[in-house]
Amino acid sequence: MSGVRKINRREFLKRTGQASGGLVFALTFGSACQPDSQAVGPAAKATASVAPNVYVNVRNDGIVEIYCHRSEMGQGIRTSLPQVIADEMEADWDKIEVIQAVGHEKYGDQNTDGSTSIRQHFDLLRNAGATAREMMIAAAAATWSVPAEECAAREHAVHHEASGRSIGYGDLVEAATDMPQPESATFKAREDYRYIGKSMDTIDGMAFTTGAGMYGIDTVLPDMLYASIERCPAFGGTAKSYDEAAARAVAGVVDVIRMPEPTSPPLFNVQGGVAILASNTWSAEQARKKLGVVWDRGANAAFNSDSYKDKLIASSSAPGTTVLTRGDADVDADHLVDATYYAPFLSQAPMEPPAATARINEDGSCEVWACTQDPQSARNTVAGTLGLEKEQVTVNVTLLGGGFGRKSKPDFIAEAAWLARETGRPVKVTWTREDDIRHGYQHSVSAQYFRAGMDADDKTVSWLHRTSFPSIASTFAPGVTGPSGFELDLGLLDAPWHVPNMRVETCEATAHVRIGWLRSVCNVFHAFGSCSFVDELAKTKGRDSKEHLLEMIGPPREIDPADDGGKYSNYGQDLEKHPVDTGRLSAVVEKVTEMAGWGRQLPDGHGLGVAVHRSFLAYVGAVAEVSVDENGKLVVHEIWSCIDAGTVVNPDRVHAQLEGAAIFGMSIAMHGELTAKDGAIVQGNFDTYPVIRMNEAPAAIHTHIMESDAPPGGVGEPGVPPIAPAIVNAYFAASGVRVRELPLRNAGLT
């Protein structure tokens, strides 16, 4: 290697054209979408543009910029959102440029959570495209002095059939500049869609396959410090002492700073700890190990998940608070069956851990770059942390290396912002995997008690469901002692069972860790319990699981939990527009069992299991085929998954979400478990918190989308809930053993 010229990092970057990815990113994704700035892309030849609304900007070089105000975390929204706008606008797919929007209320809701991007915004996006189209038509009509009614938009241009004239969108910018922004416009007919309903290639495909995609962890700013934070093992504890000198002695360390103490309730605030700031990530992580922090573990020091499990089960075995009642669930029955189901704490564990970069500008304002699911919440949290007005905070949204709910909590962004101000330099905070698993916002542990009463003909006449879990509300308010609010929506109050007597109760549970949400939230354990217990009933009755499941769902009808006193908010949507339709639920059961060849002769040791669940306004049925050998080796051979999500925008991404949900659900079924000892989460990395790998993945995941012109339902989350019960039911079919606790590895299965 002699003759190699020594180069410093900055010179290297310059020479290799890789000039600090973060800066390039900031220019193309960040500065270009400053609120109210004229949006111009990096390669733009445009000299003028006009914005019909906040989502669309038409440049006079013919490019239509589309602002994606939702975060990309693998669901493909940076492709499907432009599909909707471009379709309604009659813009050509190869003449659009997608720009990631900053966090700003002018875009409306940006919280990329609850599978809402399409289901809540479909009409808004269509309107954005349709009004832009109408503006182009008005501009052309004015240019030609003809009535707008005589003009039509098609293929990125406006046409006047009578005179045979056409003008491209780019050439209409000047004429449109002084036009009023139309507020509403007629939507295209379904049969005229060009992009909606078509499988379009992911627009980020090149970035994803060349390493060019910029995630939260990839931001680099000039003069930036790299931070790593040592946090108390138990939530809410504080540092008593630590060896600052030893940490400072590590080469590359620039500063050691004690973080603000945790608050109660935690909200999205920084949670204490000791931060190391260094010239690179590795130095910061090494110095953490030298701190030797002595902790006061605080109020949760005695928390132990083993004894907590006993407590939860006890809580669910006694009457709780009734939240829904139909008839008399205690009515005399010929015989009763009951069971208790338990599921543990889970971590979202996105492959990219939480990471954020912040810079304080000379005027005191703050700019951050972060993998956030909710840039407006991040903006508010940073403003609150720094005592700024939110107008002084700019949140640039990077790509997210997975989210699964973790990245809708902006605590890590607040950490970066706070440290940037303390140090006076830009700071990137990167969580280690251990930080992510141990110090996150955990998905709730839960215990559920079910009791069903049957008449002499084995028909189910009563149903009691009690649920007990520490509530997400405990993260935001003091004194929360049990399930509440929207959590009751999640597979609890909307039970589809056709049973004349039903009661649903919630039971007490107090939180000792920060409770958050994970892909499909409480639906994970409610579907696991309900669909497993229904299968148990089938077996006690000697019935076929599928036939019995359909019988439990009953005839096609619309359910309104309010009829039985349930306070149900239907994922924020009108029941009239999005009814709880048992006919659609049965239809996905019929379809998915047909796909799986339900009833066919299976090899020895194999079993099929079925489950179905409505969540986030979509209906998903799943079938798993498993086998188990004498050593407890459980193999999931194939999974079939069928969704009715109403109208879908990009079928390929919907299939992909179902495939991914099958693997995510398998991780929950087979492996997922966090435990706590003396207040601290025991697991720390993918060795102790395993997730499904390629060698465990099914040979095939078969997916199907039901044809429907119903309004769109959710897609990202609904595929998850039926997977674990389908596998548990399949395991029963294969082995005759009923497992009522997750994960299955605790039942001796590998």
Partner: protein
């Protein structure tokens, strides 16, 4: 001290602690961010790079191991993403969030260099060190078969 190696065909000399994992040397010091951190313990494969053509988890080898050798990262795999594996990945829209895919692709390229026409079993054996939390495994299998066809 300086650690000198060839990075995507470019000679580099990094003034670093030689025990710094190659991952952080590549990301923080050389400024190539396509190689990802996700576990730091050689458990997930997101940080896979090639050293003299062999796949290596860069989070678990000190930078000194790279001294005098040729390192290839995802950025150096091909001009403009033209490697058959990258092309196959795009044809099948394998990636969801994309974060682990640099490592997946580097593992797949190494597999196909070793076994040009792998079976599903070969793929499972070679790729099980790479975690994808989005769950793209079945498409990865398919894409590797497609790349194998395209290469032959």
């Amino acid at each position: 001290m300086a650690v000198e190696f060839e990075l995507n065909g470019e000679a580099v000399s990094l003034d670093i602690d030689p025990t710094m994992p190659l991952l952080w040397a590549i990301r923080d010091m050389a400024g190539l961010t396509g190689t990802k951190y996700a576990c730091g313990k050689a458990l997930c494969g997101s940080c896979n790079v090639h050293i003299d053509g062999q796949p290596v988890r860069s989070c678990a080898v000190p930078a000194s191991v790279a001294a005098g050798r040729k390192i290839t990262t995802i950025e150096g795999l091909s001009e403009e993403g033209s490697h058959p594996v990258q092309v196959a990945w795009r044809k099948l829209n394998v990636a969801q969030c994309g974060y682990c895919q640099s490592g997946q692709i580097m593992s797949a390229v190494a597999l196909l260099e070793r076994i040009p026409n792998p079976t599903d079993e070969d793929i499972d054996a070679a790729m099980s060190g790479n975690i994808c939390r989005c769950g793209t495994y079945t498409r990865i299998r398919e894409a590797i078969h497609l790349a194998a066809e395209d290469q032959s």
